[in-house]
Subunit: 352 residues, 4 copies
């Protein structure tokens, strides 16, 4: 396994990152890495020459065929590729995998490990597919210097942030969460449902244990259930967290002090996921990404030491800054997670 990032004769040597799987997550990670000072994107891969591949080239990324046997498709479509993944993987300090669920694990076993290159796989994979599960607030140190890490899902990332805020002011005894999940990402026109609610009939759902894979001390304390509903914009979480005590003001303060999570007010017109996305569009965010977790201030309430609150999760983007921090941890580029978070946020233009 290659050694991570090193500084040489005063110059800063930037970490060389390859993005394998330039889809919803992959393309965002590429753009987030590209705007950091200490990293660079040495290439992105695509399985087919569609408009996303074209766009990658227009943005100036070197394009590689993710599946060598399909390289000819790019030529036939008149898209210039710099080779296949086999031609570039050895140059990478770390690969960020952005392939679909289950393919990430296969890539890790068949490609990244074989080529002795560090790799991040995404939240579609299982906790034990990698050495550990990453969240910038909770497991940065645990993942420091590691070779194969799973960046947890959008839902888990969102819960890790709100639980961090809560944990900073009180003790969590038991957390119950109901996840109302968006059906598909907004670019998808194939999957449904069009007009139905689909329950995850396994209750508790896998989301609780997934949070616990990041926050070991919450083992057995997070219980979740989930439904899928016909919308594309964001997930929604209803949290009910039994604690040893806290006030609404405490919680609002704690959220204000926690990175990448903030409160919003329905009374200001931010009364649905549609309004939140409109805000993000107005803010001029690239692809309207709302990387931070918005919590409705009106929804925060404490009864009998139990905290209630509702938050939304922009599934396409909340994990993106975490990927950048994870790179820094795995390549031992920065020891302090808060410093990495600040660097990432500043480069990406996040609010906090």
């Amino acid at each position: 396994m290659k050694i991570g990032h090193k500084k040489k004769n005063g110059d800063v040597m930037t970490a060389k990152i390859l993005i394998n799987g330039y889809g919803s997550i992959g393309k965002r990670v590429a753009d987030a890495v590209a705007c950091q000072k200490d990293m660079e994107v040495i290439g992105v891969t695509k399985t087919k020459p569609d408009f996303e591949a074209k766009m990658a080239l227009e943005k100036g990324y070197k394009l590689y065929a993710a599946v060598p046997e399909r390289a000819h498709l790019f030529e036939e479509a008149g898209l210039e590729i710099s080779g296949t993944i086999d031609d570039v993987i050895q140059d990478a300090d770390l690969v960020v995998d952005g392939a679909p669920k289950k393919i990430g694990k296969q890539n890790l076993e068949n490609l990244y490990k074989k080529n002795n290159v560090k790799a991040i796989i995404q939240g579609g994979e299982k906790a034990n597919d990698a050495e550990d599960s990453f969240n910038s607030l909770w497991s940065y140190d645990r993942c420091y210097g590691k070779d194969a890490i799973r960046l947890v899902s959008c839902n888990t990332t969102g819960l890790c942030r709100s639980l961090y805020a809560i944990d900073s002011i009180t003790d969590v005894l038991k957390a119950r969460v109901v996840l109302i999940r968006r059906a598909v990402d907004p670019n998808d026109s194939k999957k449904g449902p069009v007009n139905a609610i689909i329950p995850s009939t396994d209750v508790p759902s896998h989301h609780g244990p997934d949070v616990e894979s990041v926050i070991k001390k919450f083992k057995g304390k997070i219980i979740s259930s989930a439904v899928i509903v016909p919308t594309t914009l964001m997930h929604m979480h209803s949290l009910m967290v039994e604690t040893t005590g806290a006030t609404k003001d405490d919680i609002v303060d704690a959220i204000a002090k926690t990175p990448r999570i903030f409160t919003v007010k329905a009374s200001e017109g931010l009364d649905s996921t549609a309004a939140l996305i409109e805000m993000s569009r107005d803010m001029g965010r690239l692809r309207y990404d709302l990387n931070e977790i918005p919590v409705w201030e009106e929804s925060i309430n404490v009864i009998d030491n139990e905290i209630f609150m509702m938050q939304a999760v922009h599934q396409e983007s909340d994990v993106i800054p975490e990927n950048v921090d994870c790179i820094r941890a795995m390549l031992q580029m920065e020891e302090d997670n808060i410093k990495s978070i600040e660097m990432t946020n500043k480069a990406m233009g996040l609010l906090k």
Copy 2:
């Protein structure tokens, strides 16, 4: 106030029911009353001469103008009305109000009380707008002989049934419920959202206290939150109920023994609200009404004495048989709630 239903010289005297507001709820109550042996529909009212008014006439109901000043609209449209509500209200033993939210209360004050006629108002009204809140299982006796009763909402009715099953085998310590609400009824093409999730930012939401208005002993024990999602078919509830203990088998049994609630299996293809409605269509139900509450058997689980389960609620129809029972209670037609439930179910063709 008129005295309720009485039998005379051997003949059964049927209760004379007027339906004021023949919309989603009103038209279903009309059909449910019409098929009972001990009641009859003496008339239904409409505010305008639309296709629902036509359909009422075709079904053989006598049609009255709900708003006397609008009577001329019916004539102009060529629809034969038998008069206005003022012409018929004195003949009614009881009026079932089916007017929209807030209008029910007004009708009660300005119309039913003034005409000294018993009345049921629906779940859009508030608990203290009437003498008590009705559910066939929980408050039949309390409403017996009363003059003005509120028939609680579809969501509250659904929760009352599952909590009845649970209460029959264990003690409820605390119940947490997250309601994922359908946006509009399927006949509505005006309201949204089209592609958003809308949180009720008051947490806990009003649904918990509403259940407690029916089940007084649960005072302070039911905590709920709610979101609205872009679907028309059914609501969904995720229940988390702390108890003194129960097994999954106990719960399945208890549900089997409780009227108007049953278990369904996702493994049989009943894996979404869309599939449940398809089942109801296949069963030949009028308007595909699924008056019973379906609970996903796979979702029932007990951890640390806390019961988890997911249920769906067909918002248009679960309260309909309750309206029939409520009539019997208010008009003192049957003392035993279980007997009324059985009569109603049999006449309507319910499963249980």
Copy 3:
């Protein structure tokens, strides 16, 4: 090939119909056949033991495994089957195929022809997969006594009816139709889109030629384009038909005289596909099927001899009565299409 239906010694011998593929179309054809006097359902097939299979048994149909190797699944699920399709196909006078797109053609080649049994395949198949394309109004005579017939799609059936009405009063010079298609049937929770419009980028779309496969004299005269939109209830057609001349009154009259198509008024509240389905629910139709084609009266207009009108198509049900008529034609049970239409309509309770 077996000879069709014959009457023997005074008794009426009913045609023995097997339904292969008891899905959206298959189950409806079964129920429509079952209520005819001159036919009976000798069995229905399912590929898996889901709730639809259970429902078929509850309705009293004999259930067979469509795929012999999967017969054990039914036993394991505790569902009683009467055997596999191989055990029953020889007893059938005719098989109505209800299998998904492309499977119907395979079944015809591999199963029905091999067993020498007459068969109807549905609109998912191509025109030249069968001997001819059926519509009760246009091609009954052509299909009389034939062995393998394609019952055209819901959209084609809808257009055949409105074009029949128009053709009865004027000459069609050119018809342009834009089809706004429902995304999925209401029982489907898997396919999308959730929030997108998908164009058929082949313009003209295949729908025009498909109509021409039924109405040969319109060869080259029907031009269509199509989009898919996120709704489940009905398709919508915008028709623009150049003719040699007609008035709006002529058209309204012609529609009134044509079977299985009628006018509705938006002014009566029937102003969307949602309202039309509500009407059908109110009418007490099984599964709310609206087998007739509704045309908005307000939308009918004639400018420069070009007829404009908008109609909706209940995709799940408009082809069902046609399947019944097609059986009568293929088995030579009734020579006169109008008589068959009347028999079918009466048995099914259609308006006209």
Copy 4:
């Protein structure tokens, strides 16, 4: 009426633009004006202190109360306003009205005319509410120096562009257009439909005449019908244009030469409105605005001299660059429409 823009002693005097009604259209026009060299935004108005008002302040716009009596609401909410519209209107060379349908007309009569200030009202108003109807390609000259102009709707603007391309190579004999309209803008969570198609039962719809208000020579030649479908992203148009002759290549070329319209390929994955918006997000467009009209190349076809094609319209943004050009025309800042188009496009970063 004030005289329009003039240059003084070498310096360029920028046109002072006030945006009255900072909603979907208003905020986009503000940003588009702000990035032009020859204009500036002197203020924007809001009726209430919501998040959009906050965002306007954060962007550096001076905020004014649109309704003087509501000024106190802003103070109460802690939002700094620079006064009410009455304080700023006299400083404006031109007001761009962005108020909802019908309010624009009222504002023109009661506010702009009274204050003797030039004004653009938007497409929600009627053709004869203003002096003329604007499109950069068709009526720039007609609107030159005028005082009150209506900027036509998103649909009309889209059609004006494709018809311009077609008109540049052949003669339009008759155009038929079916509009499949998005239900609401993506920020809206109040209006529906959730699961229905709503026809405009007036056929032809008002869209044809609206195009003719811009392109006088097409008087009587444009016939349209329209439906509303449950999606938020874009409208879709199916065009059928009878001409004196053209080839597909001609049309593709003509589109390539026409400003603000381009072809896209479904074969590259751009096969739905969802994919088009994804492309726009990837392009880094502010609020993902796709100001240009995309036409599906695969859908372009010519049969018997009739052109078929399908195009999408990003309703929130296609009219924005037209507003900028309209300002230049009305204030006589640039005589040549093509030069204005180029200036606008360059400043806004449009593709063409």
